[in-house]
Protein backbone atom coordinates (compact mmCIF):
# COMPACT_ATOMS: atom_id res chain seq x y z
CA UNK A 1 0.00 0.00 0.00
CA UNK A 2 1.55 3.27 -1.11
CA UNK A 3 1.70 6.37 1.01
CA UNK A 4 -1.08 8.87 0.31
CA UNK A 5 -0.77 12.46 1.48
CA UNK A 6 -2.70 14.43 -1.12
CA UNK A 7 -6.01 12.68 -1.76
CA UNK A 8 -6.02 10.42 1.29
CA UNK A 9 -9.17 12.07 2.67
CA UNK A 10 -11.13 12.23 -0.57
CA UNK A 11 -13.65 9.59 0.51
CA UNK A 12 -14.73 11.34 3.71
CA UNK A 13 -18.33 12.49 3.20
CA UNK A 14 -18.64 16.26 3.03
CA UNK A 15 -14.88 16.90 2.59
CA UNK A 16 -15.76 19.26 -0.24
CA UNK A 17 -17.17 21.74 2.30
CA UNK A 18 -15.19 23.92 4.70
CA UNK A 19 -16.48 22.42 7.95
CA UNK A 20 -15.51 18.82 7.31
CA UNK A 21 -12.24 19.82 5.64
CA UNK A 22 -11.35 21.92 8.69
CA UNK A 23 -12.38 19.20 11.15
CA UNK A 24 -10.10 16.76 9.29
CA UNK A 25 -7.10 18.99 9.85
CA UNK A 26 -7.56 21.38 6.95
CA UNK A 27 -6.10 24.90 7.08
CA UNK A 28 -3.61 23.81 9.77
CA UNK A 29 -0.86 24.26 7.18
CA UNK A 30 -2.15 27.76 6.43
CA UNK A 31 -2.14 28.65 10.14
CA UNK A 32 1.40 27.35 10.40
CA UNK A 33 2.47 29.30 7.30
CA UNK A 34 1.17 32.62 8.56
CA UNK A 35 3.44 32.27 11.59
CA UNK A 36 6.46 31.86 9.30
CA UNK A 37 8.43 34.35 7.22
CA UNK A 38 7.52 34.10 3.51
CA UNK A 39 11.15 33.31 2.62
CA UNK A 40 11.10 30.35 5.02
CA UNK A 41 8.05 28.90 3.26
CA UNK A 42 9.92 29.11 -0.06
CA UNK A 43 12.82 27.38 1.68
CA UNK A 44 10.57 24.50 2.84
CA UNK A 45 9.25 24.02 -0.70
CA UNK A 46 12.83 24.01 -2.01
CA UNK A 47 13.84 21.41 0.57
CA UNK A 48 10.88 19.20 -0.37
CA UNK A 49 12.27 18.72 -3.89
CA UNK A 50 8.73 19.18 -5.25
CA UNK A 51 8.79 19.19 -9.04
CA UNK A 52 6.18 20.91 -11.19
CA UNK A 53 3.31 18.49 -11.70
CA UNK A 54 2.03 20.02 -14.94
CA UNK A 55 4.41 18.10 -17.17
CA UNK A 56 7.80 19.76 -17.30
CA UNK A 57 8.91 18.60 -13.83
CA UNK A 58 10.81 21.79 -13.06
CA UNK A 59 11.64 22.20 -9.32
CA UNK A 60 8.86 24.37 -7.87
CA UNK A 61 10.94 25.95 -5.11
CA UNK A 62 13.52 27.07 -7.65
CA UNK A 63 10.82 28.60 -9.85
CA UNK A 64 9.58 30.51 -6.80
CA UNK A 65 13.03 31.81 -5.95
CA UNK A 66 13.38 33.31 -9.47
CA UNK A 67 10.45 35.67 -8.80
CA UNK A 68 11.61 39.27 -9.15
CA UNK A 69 10.61 41.58 -6.31
CA UNK A 70 10.92 45.19 -7.50
CA UNK A 71 9.57 47.85 -5.10
CA UNK A 72 6.02 49.01 -5.62
CA UNK A 73 5.15 46.52 -8.36
CA UNK A 74 2.45 43.90 -7.64
CA UNK A 75 3.37 40.23 -7.94
CA UNK A 76 0.95 37.57 -9.07
CA UNK A 77 0.43 33.89 -8.50
CA UNK A 78 -1.52 32.10 -11.21
CA UNK A 79 -2.76 28.56 -10.83
CA UNK A 80 -2.72 26.67 -14.11
CA UNK A 81 -5.92 24.62 -14.16
CA UNK A 82 -6.12 24.47 -17.93
CA UNK A 83 -5.55 20.70 -17.87
CA UNK A 84 -5.94 19.71 -21.53
CA UNK A 85 -3.24 17.16 -22.25
CA UNK A 86 -5.02 14.08 -23.62
CA UNK A 87 -4.97 11.35 -20.97
CA UNK A 88 -4.80 13.82 -18.08
CA UNK A 89 -7.72 14.39 -15.71
CA UNK A 90 -6.06 14.54 -12.29
CA UNK A 91 -6.43 18.30 -11.64
CA UNK A 92 -10.11 18.03 -12.37
CA UNK A 93 -10.37 15.30 -9.71
CA UNK A 94 -8.50 17.39 -7.15
CA UNK A 95 -10.59 20.50 -7.76
CA UNK A 96 -13.88 18.67 -7.95
CA UNK A 97 -13.50 16.62 -4.78
CA UNK A 98 -10.96 18.51 -2.66
CA UNK A 99 -11.42 22.17 -3.61
CA UNK A 100 -10.26 23.42 -0.21
CA UNK A 101 -6.94 21.61 -0.55
CA UNK A 102 -6.17 23.71 -3.63
CA UNK A 103 -7.47 26.90 -2.02
CA UNK A 104 -5.35 26.28 1.08
CA UNK A 105 -2.29 25.62 -1.09
CA UNK A 106 -3.00 28.84 -2.98
CA UNK A 107 -3.34 30.88 0.20
CA UNK A 108 0.00 29.60 1.54
CA UNK A 109 1.74 30.10 -1.81
CA UNK A 110 0.25 33.59 -2.25
CA UNK A 111 1.61 34.54 1.18
CA UNK A 112 5.02 33.05 0.39
CA UNK A 113 5.25 34.93 -2.91
CA UNK A 114 3.49 38.13 -1.86
CA UNK A 115 0.58 37.86 -4.28
CA UNK A 116 -2.47 39.84 -3.22
CA UNK A 117 -4.47 38.86 -6.29
CA UNK A 118 -4.24 35.25 -7.23
CA UNK A 119 -5.90 33.71 -10.26
CA UNK A 120 -7.04 30.21 -11.05
CA UNK A 121 -7.14 29.87 -14.83
CA UNK A 122 -9.39 26.90 -15.48
CA UNK A 123 -10.24 25.36 -18.84
CA UNK A 124 -13.61 26.60 -20.05
CA UNK A 125 -15.15 23.15 -20.35
CA UNK A 126 -14.80 22.49 -16.60
CA UNK A 127 -17.61 24.97 -15.99
CA UNK A 128 -19.27 23.12 -13.11
CA UNK A 129 -15.96 23.10 -11.24
CA UNK A 130 -15.91 26.90 -11.35
CA UNK A 131 -18.96 26.88 -9.06
CA UNK A 132 -17.28 24.42 -6.68
CA UNK A 133 -14.14 26.55 -6.48
CA UNK A 134 -16.06 29.80 -6.03
CA UNK A 135 -18.01 28.26 -3.19
CA UNK A 136 -14.78 27.13 -1.49
CA UNK A 137 -13.30 30.60 -1.96
CA UNK A 138 -16.40 32.18 -0.40
CA UNK A 139 -16.11 29.81 2.58
CA UNK A 140 -12.42 30.64 3.01
CA UNK A 141 -13.35 34.33 2.98
CA UNK A 142 -16.06 33.85 5.60
CA UNK A 143 -13.62 32.01 7.84
CA UNK A 144 -10.90 34.61 7.62
CA UNK A 145 -8.39 32.72 5.46
CA UNK A 146 -8.90 35.12 2.56
CA UNK A 147 -9.69 38.82 2.38
CA UNK A 148 -8.11 41.64 4.33
CA UNK A 149 -5.58 41.20 7.15
CA UNK A 150 -5.62 37.38 7.12
CA UNK A 151 -5.23 35.95 10.65
CA UNK A 152 -4.06 39.33 11.83
CA UNK A 153 -0.87 39.23 9.78
CA UNK A 154 -1.69 42.34 7.76
CA UNK A 155 -1.58 40.27 4.57
CA UNK A 156 -4.46 40.74 2.09
CA UNK A 157 -5.31 38.18 -0.55
CA UNK A 158 -8.16 37.39 -2.88
CA UNK A 159 -8.50 34.46 -5.29
CA UNK A 160 -10.37 34.76 -8.59
CA UNK A 161 -11.42 32.02 -10.97
CA UNK A 162 -11.05 32.77 -14.67
CA UNK A 163 -12.53 30.43 -17.26
CA UNK A 164 -10.77 29.74 -20.53
CA UNK A 165 -12.77 29.02 -23.65
CA UNK A 166 -11.31 25.94 -25.28
CA UNK A 167 -7.62 26.05 -26.22
CA UNK A 168 -4.99 23.46 -25.27
CA UNK A 169 -2.28 26.02 -25.89
CA UNK A 170 -3.44 28.07 -22.88
CA UNK A 171 -1.86 25.40 -20.67
CA UNK A 172 1.50 26.82 -21.81
CA UNK A 173 2.26 29.43 -19.16
CA UNK A 174 2.82 32.46 -21.37
CA UNK A 175 -0.20 31.66 -23.57
CA UNK A 176 -2.19 31.33 -20.35
CA UNK A 177 -1.08 34.82 -19.31
CA UNK A 178 -2.05 36.23 -22.72
CA UNK A 179 -5.46 34.61 -22.33
CA UNK A 180 -5.81 35.97 -18.81
CA UNK A 181 -5.15 39.41 -20.27
CA UNK A 182 -8.09 38.88 -22.62
CA UNK A 183 -6.18 38.02 -25.77
CA UNK A 184 -5.68 35.09 -28.12
CA UNK A 185 -3.58 32.36 -26.53
CA UNK A 186 -0.36 32.99 -28.47
CA UNK A 187 2.71 32.01 -26.43
CA UNK A 188 5.25 34.73 -25.75
CA UNK A 189 8.92 34.56 -26.61
CA UNK A 190 11.05 33.78 -23.53
CA UNK A 191 13.00 35.51 -22.05
CA UNK A 192 11.69 37.53 -20.36
CA UNK A 193 10.28 34.75 -18.22
CA UNK A 194 7.02 35.29 -16.31
CA UNK A 195 9.01 35.47 -13.06
CA UNK A 196 10.31 38.82 -14.31
CA UNK A 197 7.60 39.97 -16.73
CA UNK A 198 4.37 38.01 -16.52
CA UNK A 199 0.75 39.01 -16.01
CA UNK A 200 0.27 42.67 -17.03
CA UNK A 201 4.09 42.86 -17.23
CA UNK A 202 4.43 42.16 -13.49
CA UNK A 203 6.49 39.36 -11.90
CA UNK A 204 4.35 36.22 -11.94
CA UNK A 205 4.58 32.59 -10.88
CA UNK A 206 2.47 30.06 -12.77
CA UNK A 207 2.09 26.63 -11.16
CA UNK A 208 -0.05 23.59 -11.84
CA UNK A 209 -3.01 22.68 -9.58
CA UNK A 210 -1.35 19.55 -8.19
CA UNK A 211 1.90 21.43 -7.48
CA UNK A 212 0.09 24.07 -5.44
CA UNK A 213 -2.03 21.51 -3.60
CA UNK A 214 1.17 19.64 -2.66
CA UNK A 215 2.34 22.72 -0.76
CA UNK A 216 -0.20 21.80 1.95
CA UNK A 217 1.33 18.43 2.94
CA UNK A 218 4.80 19.94 2.55
CA UNK A 219 3.99 22.59 5.15
CA UNK A 220 2.29 20.04 7.38
CA UNK A 221 5.08 17.48 7.42
CA UNK A 222 8.03 19.76 6.63
CA UNK A 223 10.08 19.85 3.45
CA UNK A 224 12.65 17.32 4.66
CA UNK A 225 10.05 14.67 5.50
CA UNK A 226 8.34 15.19 2.13
CA UNK A 227 11.66 14.74 0.36
CA UNK A 228 12.10 11.33 2.03
CA UNK A 229 9.07 9.92 0.15
CA UNK A 230 9.94 8.51 -3.26
CA UNK A 231 13.22 7.72 -4.96
CA UNK A 232 16.06 10.13 -5.80
CA UNK A 233 14.85 13.37 -7.33
CA UNK A 234 11.30 12.01 -7.64
CA UNK A 235 10.15 13.18 -4.25
CA UNK A 236 6.70 13.07 -2.75
CA UNK A 237 3.63 11.59 -4.34
CA UNK A 238 2.28 12.00 -7.85
CA UNK A 239 -1.27 11.79 -9.14
CA UNK A 240 -1.57 9.50 -12.13
CA UNK A 241 -4.69 9.57 -14.27
CA UNK A 242 -4.94 6.15 -15.84
CA UNK A 243 -7.09 5.50 -18.90
CA UNK A 244 -7.37 3.54 -22.13
CA UNK A 245 -7.67 -0.25 -22.02
CA UNK A 246 -7.48 -1.00 -18.30
CA UNK A 247 -9.93 -2.51 -15.86
CA UNK A 248 -9.95 0.36 -13.40
CA UNK A 249 -9.43 3.72 -15.06
CA UNK A 250 -9.22 6.63 -12.64
CA UNK A 251 -6.97 8.89 -10.62
CA UNK A 252 -4.37 7.24 -8.38
CA UNK A 253 -1.91 8.75 -5.96
CA UNK A 254 1.40 6.92 -6.02
CA UNK A 255 4.48 7.45 -3.92
CA UNK A 256 7.18 7.16 -6.51
CA UNK A 257 8.50 3.78 -5.44
CA UNK A 258 6.38 1.34 -7.46
CA UNK A 259 7.11 -0.31 -10.80
CA UNK A 260 5.15 0.31 -14.00
CA UNK A 261 4.20 -3.36 -14.04
CA UNK A 262 2.73 -3.15 -10.56
CA UNK A 263 0.84 -0.01 -11.50
CA UNK A 264 -0.80 -1.65 -14.51
CA UNK A 265 -1.51 -5.10 -13.10
CA UNK A 266 -2.08 -4.75 -9.36
CA UNK A 267 -5.59 -4.56 -7.98
CA UNK A 268 -4.66 -1.48 -5.99
CA UNK A 269 -4.19 0.47 -9.22
CA UNK A 270 -5.26 -0.22 -12.83
CA UNK A 271 -6.24 -3.85 -12.24
CA UNK A 272 -4.85 -5.21 -15.51
CA UNK A 273 -6.18 -5.21 -19.07
CA UNK A 274 -9.86 -6.06 -19.73
CA UNK A 275 -10.96 -9.34 -21.31
CA UNK A 276 -7.62 -11.00 -20.66
CA UNK A 277 -6.01 -9.14 -23.52
CA UNK A 278 -2.30 -8.46 -23.73
CA UNK A 279 -0.57 -5.15 -23.18
CA UNK A 280 0.59 -3.71 -26.49
CA UNK A 281 1.84 -0.22 -25.72
CA UNK A 282 1.50 2.68 -23.35
CA UNK A 283 1.84 6.44 -23.39
CA UNK A 284 2.89 6.96 -19.78
CA UNK A 285 2.77 10.74 -19.33
CA UNK A 286 0.08 12.36 -21.45
CA UNK A 287 -0.28 12.32 -25.24
CA UNK A 288 2.87 14.36 -25.93
CA UNK A 289 5.35 11.89 -24.50
CA UNK A 290 6.77 9.01 -26.54
CA UNK A 291 4.70 5.83 -26.78
CA UNK A 292 6.52 2.70 -25.60
CA UNK A 293 5.93 -0.89 -26.63
CA UNK A 294 5.16 -3.31 -23.77
CA UNK A 295 8.69 -4.70 -23.46
CA UNK A 296 10.37 -1.31 -23.17
CA UNK A 297 7.62 -0.05 -20.92
CA UNK A 298 8.07 -2.74 -18.30
CA UNK A 299 11.87 -3.04 -18.54
CA UNK A 300 14.43 -0.45 -19.50
CA UNK A 301 16.91 -1.11 -22.30
CA UNK A 302 19.47 -1.90 -19.58
CA UNK A 303 17.21 -4.70 -18.39
CA UNK A 304 16.11 -3.00 -15.17
CA UNK A 305 12.54 -2.94 -13.94
CA UNK A 306 11.00 0.35 -15.04
CA UNK A 307 9.68 2.36 -12.11
CA UNK A 308 7.01 5.06 -11.92
CA UNK A 309 9.54 7.84 -11.30
CA UNK A 310 10.67 10.83 -13.36
CA UNK A 311 14.13 9.28 -13.82
CA UNK A 312 13.15 5.72 -14.61
CA UNK A 313 10.40 6.63 -17.08
CA UNK A 314 12.88 8.75 -19.02
CA UNK A 315 15.69 6.19 -18.77
CA UNK A 316 17.15 5.56 -22.21
CA UNK A 317 16.16 8.99 -23.55
CA UNK A 318 13.72 9.05 -26.42
CA UNK A 319 15.42 6.09 -28.10
CA UNK A 320 14.14 3.57 -25.56
CA UNK A 321 12.44 5.65 -22.86
CA UNK A 322 9.64 8.13 -22.39
CA UNK A 323 8.65 10.70 -19.74
CA UNK A 324 6.56 11.13 -16.59
CA UNK A 325 4.99 14.24 -18.16
CA UNK A 326 1.64 15.17 -16.68
CA UNK A 327 0.92 11.67 -15.39
CA UNK A 328 -1.69 10.91 -18.06
CA UNK A 329 -1.20 7.16 -18.38
CA UNK A 330 -2.79 5.79 -21.60
CA UNK A 331 -2.78 2.01 -22.09
CA UNK A 332 -3.31 0.29 -25.44
CA UNK A 333 -4.27 -3.39 -25.62
CA UNK A 334 -3.19 -5.83 -28.33
CA UNK A 335 -6.14 -5.01 -30.60
CA UNK A 336 -5.46 -1.30 -30.84
CA UNK A 337 -3.94 0.29 -33.91
CA UNK A 338 -0.95 2.51 -33.26
CA UNK A 339 -1.37 4.28 -36.61
CA UNK A 340 -4.94 5.23 -35.77
CA UNK A 341 -4.03 6.34 -32.27
CA UNK A 342 -1.22 8.49 -33.65
CA UNK A 343 -3.62 9.94 -36.22
CA UNK A 344 -6.05 11.11 -33.52
CA UNK A 345 -3.17 12.72 -31.63
CA UNK A 346 -1.82 14.39 -34.76
CA UNK A 347 -5.31 15.73 -35.44
CA UNK A 348 -5.42 17.03 -31.88
CA UNK A 349 -2.19 18.98 -32.27
CA UNK A 350 -3.21 20.37 -35.65
CA UNK A 351 -6.46 21.55 -34.06
CA UNK A 352 -4.64 23.11 -31.09
CA UNK A 353 -1.70 24.78 -32.84
CA UNK A 354 -2.08 28.53 -32.30
CA UNK A 355 -0.69 29.23 -35.77
CA UNK A 356 2.10 31.57 -34.72
CA UNK A 357 5.10 29.53 -35.90
CA UNK A 358 5.05 28.05 -39.40
CA UNK A 359 6.79 24.73 -38.60
CA UNK A 360 4.00 23.89 -36.17
CA UNK A 361 1.09 25.51 -38.03
CA UNK A 362 1.93 23.81 -41.35
CA UNK A 363 3.72 20.73 -40.05
CA UNK A 364 0.92 19.53 -37.77
CA UNK A 365 -1.51 19.72 -40.71
CA UNK A 366 0.83 17.80 -43.02
CA UNK A 367 1.39 15.10 -40.41
CA UNK A 368 -2.35 14.64 -39.94
CA UNK A 369 -2.96 14.39 -43.70
CA UNK A 370 -0.18 11.86 -44.24
CA UNK A 371 -1.30 9.76 -41.27
CA UNK A 372 -4.86 9.91 -42.56
CA UNK A 373 -3.71 8.58 -45.92
CA UNK A 374 -1.71 5.75 -44.34
CA UNK A 375 -4.55 4.80 -42.01
CA UNK A 376 -7.07 4.70 -44.86
CA UNK A 377 -4.99 2.66 -47.25
CA UNK A 378 -3.77 5.48 -49.46
CA UNK A 379 -0.26 5.75 -48.08
CA UNK A 380 3.08 5.15 -49.78
CA UNK A 381 6.22 3.72 -48.20
CA UNK A 382 7.96 7.06 -48.73
CA UNK A 383 5.26 8.70 -46.59
CA UNK A 384 6.72 7.10 -43.50
CA UNK A 385 10.08 8.74 -44.09
CA UNK A 386 8.36 11.99 -45.02
CA UNK A 387 6.50 11.89 -41.71
CA UNK A 388 9.77 11.35 -39.88
CA UNK A 389 11.33 14.26 -41.74
CA UNK A 390 8.46 16.63 -40.90
CA UNK A 391 8.39 15.85 -37.21
CA UNK A 392 12.15 16.38 -37.02
CA UNK A 393 11.78 19.80 -38.60
CA UNK A 394 9.06 20.88 -36.17
CA UNK A 395 10.90 19.81 -33.03
CA UNK A 396 12.88 22.63 -31.46
CA UNK A 397 11.87 25.15 -34.11
CA UNK A 398 8.90 26.78 -32.43
CA UNK A 399 8.36 29.44 -29.77
CA UNK A 400 6.62 27.08 -27.34
CA UNK A 401 6.77 23.34 -26.66
CA UNK A 402 3.55 22.55 -28.56
CA UNK A 403 5.67 21.87 -31.62
CA UNK A 404 7.75 19.32 -29.71
CA UNK A 405 4.60 17.86 -28.19
CA UNK A 406 3.21 17.29 -31.68
CA UNK A 407 6.45 15.84 -33.04
CA UNK A 408 7.29 13.37 -30.26
CA UNK A 409 4.26 11.06 -30.48
CA UNK A 410 4.71 10.71 -34.24
CA UNK A 411 8.44 10.07 -33.92
CA UNK A 412 8.01 7.45 -31.21
CA UNK A 413 5.22 5.66 -33.08
CA UNK A 414 7.45 5.31 -36.14
CA UNK A 415 10.49 4.43 -34.05
CA UNK A 416 8.81 1.55 -32.24
CA UNK A 417 6.00 0.50 -34.57
CA UNK A 418 7.35 1.09 -38.07
CA UNK A 419 6.17 -2.36 -39.13
CA UNK A 420 2.59 -1.36 -38.40
CA UNK A 421 2.86 1.70 -40.65
CA UNK A 422 4.36 -0.51 -43.36
CA UNK A 423 1.55 -3.03 -42.91
CA UNK A 424 -1.00 -0.28 -43.61
CA UNK A 425 0.82 0.73 -46.77
CA UNK A 426 1.17 -2.86 -48.02
CA UNK A 427 -2.40 -3.85 -47.16
CA UNK A 428 -4.58 -0.96 -48.26
CA UNK A 429 -7.76 -3.06 -48.50
CA UNK A 430 -7.48 -4.50 -45.01
CA UNK A 431 -6.50 -1.21 -43.45
CA UNK A 432 -9.65 0.35 -44.89
CA UNK A 433 -11.86 -2.43 -43.66
CA UNK A 434 -10.33 -2.89 -40.26
CA UNK A 435 -12.80 -2.72 -37.53
CA UNK A 436 -12.19 -0.26 -34.74
CA UNK A 437 -14.09 0.57 -31.63
CA UNK A 438 -16.60 -1.33 -29.60
CA UNK A 439 -19.15 -2.75 -31.95
CA UNK A 440 -17.84 -2.07 -35.39
CA UNK A 441 -20.72 0.26 -36.01
CA UNK A 442 -18.84 3.17 -37.46
CA UNK A 443 -17.50 3.60 -40.89
CA UNK A 444 -14.48 5.61 -39.78
CA UNK A 445 -14.11 7.30 -43.15
CA UNK A 446 -17.27 9.27 -42.57
CA UNK A 447 -16.65 10.01 -38.96
CA UNK A 448 -13.32 11.60 -39.63
CA UNK A 449 -14.35 14.20 -42.21
Amino acid sequence: MGKKILIDKVHIPGIRGYEVYRREGGYAAAEKAFKMAPADIVEEVKKSGLRGRGGAGFPAGMKWSFLAKPEGVPRYLVCNADESEPGTFKDRYLMEFLPHLLIEGLIISSFALGSNRTYIYIRGEYSWIVDILEEAIAEANTNGFLGKNILGTGFDCQIYVQRGAGAYICGEETALLESLEGKRGNPRIKPPFPAVKGLWDCPTVVNNVETLAAVVPILNMGGDAYAKIGIGKSTGTKLISACGNINKPGVYEIDMTISVEEFIYSEEYCGGIPNGKKLKACIPGGSSVPILPANLLLTTAKGEKRMMTYESLSDGGFATGSMMGSGGFIVLDEDQCVVRNTLTLARFYRHESCGQCSPCREGTGWMEKILHNIEYGKGKMSDIDLLWDIQRKIEGNTICPLGDAAAWPVAAAIRHFRDEFEWHVMNPQESQQRNYGLAGYANPREVLV
Binding site: P74, S84, E85, P86, G87, T88, F89, R92, R117, G124, E125, Y126, S127, Q162, R163, G164, A165, G166, A167, Y168, S179, L180, E181, G182, K183, R184, G185, W200, S241, A242, C243, G244, N245, P249, V251, I283, S287, G328, I330, L332, Q336, R340, N341, T344, L345, R347, F348, H351, C354, Y436, G437, L438, A439, G440, Y441, A442, P444, E446, V447, V449
Partner: protein, 166 residues
Protein backbone atom coordinates in the same frame (compact mmCIF):
# COMPACT_ATOMS: atom_id res chain seq x y z
CA UNK B 1 -31.97 43.91 -29.49
CA UNK B 2 -28.78 42.68 -27.85
CA UNK B 3 -28.66 43.85 -24.27
CA UNK B 4 -28.01 42.12 -20.93
CA UNK B 5 -30.74 42.19 -18.28
CA UNK B 6 -29.93 44.16 -15.13
CA UNK B 7 -29.14 40.86 -13.36
CA UNK B 8 -26.63 39.91 -16.02
CA UNK B 9 -25.15 43.40 -15.95
CA UNK B 10 -24.42 42.81 -12.27
CA UNK B 11 -22.61 39.62 -13.25
CA UNK B 12 -20.60 41.56 -15.85
CA UNK B 13 -19.66 44.08 -13.18
CA UNK B 14 -18.63 41.28 -10.81
CA UNK B 15 -16.36 39.83 -13.51
CA UNK B 16 -14.77 43.22 -14.29
CA UNK B 17 -13.91 43.59 -10.61
CA UNK B 18 -11.78 40.44 -10.79
CA UNK B 19 -9.07 42.55 -12.40
CA UNK B 20 -7.11 45.63 -11.36
CA UNK B 21 -8.48 48.97 -12.54
CA UNK B 22 -8.07 49.57 -16.25
CA UNK B 23 -7.54 45.87 -17.02
CA UNK B 24 -11.16 45.13 -17.99
CA UNK B 25 -9.94 43.71 -21.32
CA UNK B 26 -9.29 40.55 -19.29
CA UNK B 27 -13.03 40.21 -18.81
CA UNK B 28 -13.62 39.58 -22.52
CA UNK B 29 -13.47 35.77 -22.29
CA UNK B 30 -15.91 35.34 -19.37
CA UNK B 31 -18.24 38.06 -20.73
CA UNK B 32 -18.31 36.34 -24.13
CA UNK B 33 -19.31 33.11 -22.34
CA UNK B 34 -22.14 34.98 -20.66
CA UNK B 35 -23.21 36.62 -23.93
CA UNK B 36 -23.25 33.31 -25.78
CA UNK B 37 -25.41 31.81 -23.07
CA UNK B 38 -27.81 34.76 -23.06
CA UNK B 39 -28.13 35.45 -26.77
CA UNK B 40 -29.10 32.17 -28.39
CA UNK B 41 -26.05 29.96 -27.92
CA UNK B 42 -23.84 31.71 -30.45
CA UNK B 43 -22.02 34.98 -31.04
CA UNK B 44 -23.38 37.18 -33.82
CA UNK B 45 -21.39 40.23 -34.84
CA UNK B 46 -24.03 42.36 -33.09
CA UNK B 47 -23.37 40.42 -29.87
CA UNK B 48 -19.60 40.81 -30.21
CA UNK B 49 -19.94 44.55 -30.88
CA UNK B 50 -22.11 44.84 -27.79
CA UNK B 51 -19.46 43.08 -25.66
CA UNK B 52 -16.83 45.42 -27.12
CA UNK B 53 -18.86 48.48 -26.14
CA UNK B 54 -19.43 47.12 -22.61
CA UNK B 55 -15.70 46.61 -22.03
CA UNK B 56 -14.63 49.73 -23.94
CA UNK B 57 -12.67 47.67 -26.47
CA UNK B 58 -12.34 47.93 -30.22
CA UNK B 59 -14.63 45.39 -31.92
CA UNK B 60 -11.59 43.70 -33.50
CA UNK B 61 -10.23 42.90 -30.02
CA UNK B 62 -13.38 40.90 -29.37
CA UNK B 63 -13.50 39.26 -32.82
CA UNK B 64 -9.94 37.99 -32.58
CA UNK B 65 -10.67 36.36 -29.25
CA UNK B 66 -14.02 34.91 -30.34
CA UNK B 67 -12.44 33.31 -33.41
CA UNK B 68 -9.52 31.79 -31.49
CA UNK B 69 -11.26 29.74 -28.82
CA UNK B 70 -13.20 26.63 -29.73
CA UNK B 71 -16.05 27.06 -27.24
CA UNK B 72 -17.48 30.09 -29.00
CA UNK B 73 -19.98 29.33 -31.74
CA UNK B 74 -19.79 31.76 -34.63
CA UNK B 75 -22.95 30.50 -36.27
CA UNK B 76 -26.31 29.36 -34.89
CA UNK B 77 -26.43 25.95 -33.21
CA UNK B 78 -29.20 23.65 -32.05
CA UNK B 79 -30.84 23.98 -28.68
CA UNK B 80 -28.81 21.00 -27.45
CA UNK B 81 -25.22 20.58 -28.54
CA UNK B 82 -23.64 17.14 -28.25
CA UNK B 83 -19.91 17.74 -28.13
CA UNK B 84 -18.41 14.28 -28.40
CA UNK B 85 -14.70 13.83 -27.73
CA UNK B 86 -12.76 11.76 -30.28
CA UNK B 87 -9.13 12.17 -29.19
CA UNK B 88 -6.84 9.18 -28.39
CA UNK B 89 -8.19 7.79 -25.10
CA UNK B 90 -11.85 8.25 -26.12
CA UNK B 91 -11.10 6.68 -29.51
CA UNK B 92 -9.55 3.66 -27.74
CA UNK B 93 -12.85 3.25 -25.93
CA UNK B 94 -15.11 3.47 -28.96
CA UNK B 95 -15.97 7.16 -29.43
CA UNK B 96 -16.14 6.71 -33.22
CA UNK B 97 -19.05 4.31 -32.72
CA UNK B 98 -20.84 6.78 -30.51
CA UNK B 99 -20.42 9.63 -32.99
CA UNK B 100 -21.69 7.47 -35.84
CA UNK B 101 -24.61 6.22 -33.78
CA UNK B 102 -25.78 9.69 -32.75
CA UNK B 103 -25.31 10.91 -36.30
CA UNK B 104 -27.43 8.12 -37.74
CA UNK B 105 -30.10 8.48 -35.09
CA UNK B 106 -30.48 12.23 -35.63
CA UNK B 107 -29.71 12.03 -39.35
CA UNK B 108 -26.88 14.56 -39.15
CA UNK B 109 -23.14 14.56 -39.63
CA UNK B 110 -20.66 16.12 -37.21
CA UNK B 111 -20.92 19.87 -37.55
CA UNK B 112 -24.58 19.78 -38.58
CA UNK B 113 -27.83 20.66 -36.82
CA UNK B 114 -30.96 18.52 -37.01
CA UNK B 115 -33.85 19.80 -39.16
CA UNK B 116 -35.99 20.57 -36.10
CA UNK B 117 -33.23 22.80 -34.75
CA UNK B 118 -32.98 20.78 -31.54
CA UNK B 119 -29.62 19.03 -31.87
CA UNK B 120 -26.14 19.89 -33.08
CA UNK B 121 -23.50 17.17 -33.24
CA UNK B 122 -19.93 18.36 -32.86
CA UNK B 123 -16.69 16.45 -32.49
CA UNK B 124 -14.29 17.98 -30.00
CA UNK B 125 -10.74 17.32 -28.87
CA UNK B 126 -9.88 16.01 -25.40
CA UNK B 127 -12.10 17.38 -22.64
CA UNK B 128 -10.23 15.79 -19.71
CA UNK B 129 -12.53 12.86 -19.04
CA UNK B 130 -10.23 10.18 -20.48
CA UNK B 131 -10.85 7.73 -17.64
CA UNK B 132 -14.59 7.91 -18.13
CA UNK B 133 -14.60 7.52 -21.92
CA UNK B 134 -16.42 7.73 -24.23
CA UNK B 135 -17.95 11.04 -23.26
CA UNK B 136 -19.67 14.18 -24.42
CA UNK B 137 -20.27 17.65 -23.10
CA UNK B 138 -23.92 18.69 -22.98
CA UNK B 139 -24.37 22.25 -21.78
CA UNK B 140 -22.58 22.76 -18.53
CA UNK B 141 -22.05 19.10 -17.71
CA UNK B 142 -20.22 16.03 -18.91
CA UNK B 143 -22.00 12.79 -19.82
CA UNK B 144 -19.56 9.94 -19.40
CA UNK B 145 -19.24 6.18 -19.99
CA UNK B 146 -21.46 6.59 -23.06
CA UNK B 147 -23.18 3.61 -24.65
CA UNK B 148 -25.77 3.56 -27.41
CA UNK B 149 -28.49 3.09 -24.79
CA UNK B 150 -27.23 6.08 -22.83
CA UNK B 151 -27.22 8.18 -26.01
CA UNK B 152 -30.85 7.16 -26.63
CA UNK B 153 -31.77 8.21 -23.11
CA UNK B 154 -29.97 11.55 -23.43
CA UNK B 155 -31.74 12.33 -26.71
CA UNK B 156 -35.11 11.43 -25.12
CA UNK B 157 -34.33 13.58 -22.09
CA UNK B 158 -33.55 16.57 -24.32
CA UNK B 159 -36.73 16.12 -26.35
CA UNK B 160 -38.77 15.92 -23.16
CA UNK B 161 -37.15 19.02 -21.63
CA UNK B 162 -37.66 20.92 -24.84
CA UNK B 163 -41.38 20.12 -25.08
CA UNK B 164 -41.86 21.02 -21.42
CA UNK B 165 -40.28 24.43 -21.98
CA UNK B 166 -42.50 25.23 -24.92
Amino acid sequence: MVEFSSDKMKEVQRIIEFYPEGKQKSAVIPVLHLAQQEFGGWLSSATMDYVASLLKLEPIEVYEVATFYSMYNLKPVGKYMFEVCHTGPCMLNGSDDIIAYIGEKLNIKPGQTSADGLFTLKTVECLGACGYAPMMQLGKNYREHLTKEKCDAIIEECRKNSSMNN
